[in-house]
Amino acid sequence: MRKAPALISAIIISLLLAGCAGTQNRRTDPEGDPWEGFNRKVYAFNDGLDKVVRPVAVGYDKIMPDPFQRGVGNFFRNLDAPVTFVNQVLQGKATQSADTFGRFLINSTIGLLGFFDVASRMGIPFYNEDLGQTMASWGYEDSRYLVLPVFGPSTLRDGVSRYADSFIHPVGRAIHGRNKWGMWIVRGIDQRARYLDQDSELKQAYDPYVLMRDVWMQNRQYQIYDGDPPMTDYDLYLDDYPEEEPPPEN
């Protein structure tokens, strides 16, 4: 972590600058997002950072053939397995943790360090778990929205958990132990490249910050409930609407 203080101070300075540039002071969800003012500033900062990251991701996407990109995606997905495994154990999902263990073993060896997802072809299911989901399953279900610098959308619960998970994750261990950032950077570029399609839609949105929050929070809920979240209470949406009330005359 020798270089970390420099990185952190750079982030703080940029945040302050982004704060100056922040124009939006909207409060759209005081309950779920009480730190919206701060979050919007970090969002603006990340948006600025993206001006550098995006061109790199575009270049990567153009140069690298699709099969190679898929391999890189598989490689990093395979590296998530230890975190998933530990959290499956913590959640008492014994059978599923055995699947994850088997996947990791097979893909890391026969799958050539994970570049080939042999396990999926063998019919071994893929799961994704992390400490945030474990904490949610333990009862810490609602957590305030928090936009992390560089990492983007998260919650208080998931942000803290993410840091804890990084001590198990191979990419995190390379950073904590040997101060090696190479894999982390490549993974970031690879992940960014996967979202290039969605940029224009985000840009066109009436409020991109809210769109990002909505999409992320809903998808997170979906992960926490392992693909089966409770149904939205649509009646709540309708209660806002005067069904029988005639419109005012003027």
Binding site: R26, T28, R70, D197, Q198, S200, E201, L202, Q204, A205, Y206, D207, V210, L211, D214, V215, Q218, N219, Q221, Y222, Q223, G227, P229, M231, T232, Y234, Y237, L238, D240, Y241, P242, P247, P248
Partner: protein
């Protein structure tokens, strides 16, 4: 968000009513989705060249089959929420018409894109069928070999079960769209939103 948009398109396209628009009211939502998927996919796959050359014909097909199964008015009311308060019924109807036209447009494009290379299957209804509202779960294969979970929310109306929301990987179309449209209507007025929707300046999907 091309991928997601395409999934949404496909998703809606798949729920697009049966081929002759005369589905039996009282049919359960799972069968509705199953029947319509088979019909519409078969038609598009069979006449792919014709529809590619003549998008209007495809749009007509979609309009005829899609509308009977969707409750666009209900969707529009959910999207507008409290922003719809005090707005004349004609304007709300105009807004919901705009939404339908955009949907038809988008489904049609999605159908052409997906035709032939995509499979969709419907998961069995879980638990008891709720009297008022239910979710139909489907899986769609993607061109890259992956799978996407696509759910439809149906509610029971006097005319039978109608779909009003599509949920892709947990992301609800209604919830997401509502949080963009409501503040827009409150800030700029419904006329401005209708106009931008109609002229294609305002996209429907996220």
């Amino acid at each position: 968000m091309n991928t997601l948009v395409r999934i949404l398109l496909l998703a809606f396209a798949c729920s697009s009513g049966n081929l002759f628009g005369d589905h039996v009211s009282g049919e359960d939502p799972v069968s509705l989705v199953e029947d319509t998927t088979v019909h519409i996919f078969a038609d598009v796959a069979e006449n792919l060249e014709e529809y590619t050359a003549n998008p209007a014909a495809l749009q007509a097909l979609v309009r005829k089959n899609l509308m009977p199964l969707l409750d666009v008015d209900y969707a529009a009311r959910l999207v507008l929420g409290r922003a719809g308060r005090g707005i004349e019924k004609e304007k709300i109807d105009a807004f919901s018409d705009c939404m339908s036209e955009l949907l038809i447009n988008r489904y049609s494009k999605g159908l052409l894109y997906f035709a032939g290379e995509t499979k969709l299957w419907v998961l069995p209804q879980r638990g008891e069928l709720n009297e008022k509202i239910t979710r139909v779960r489907t899986r769609v294969t993607l061109p890259n070999g992956g799978q996407a979970p696509v759910d439809y929310a149906f509610h029971n109306t006097p005319d039978g079960w109608k779909a009003f929301d599509v949920i892709v990987e947990g992301i609800s179309y209604i919830t997401t769209y509502r949080n963009q449209i409501m503040p827009d209507v409150q800030a700029n007025g419904i006329d401005s939103v209708i106009e931008r929707l109609g002229s294609g300046q305002l996209e429907l999907a996220e």
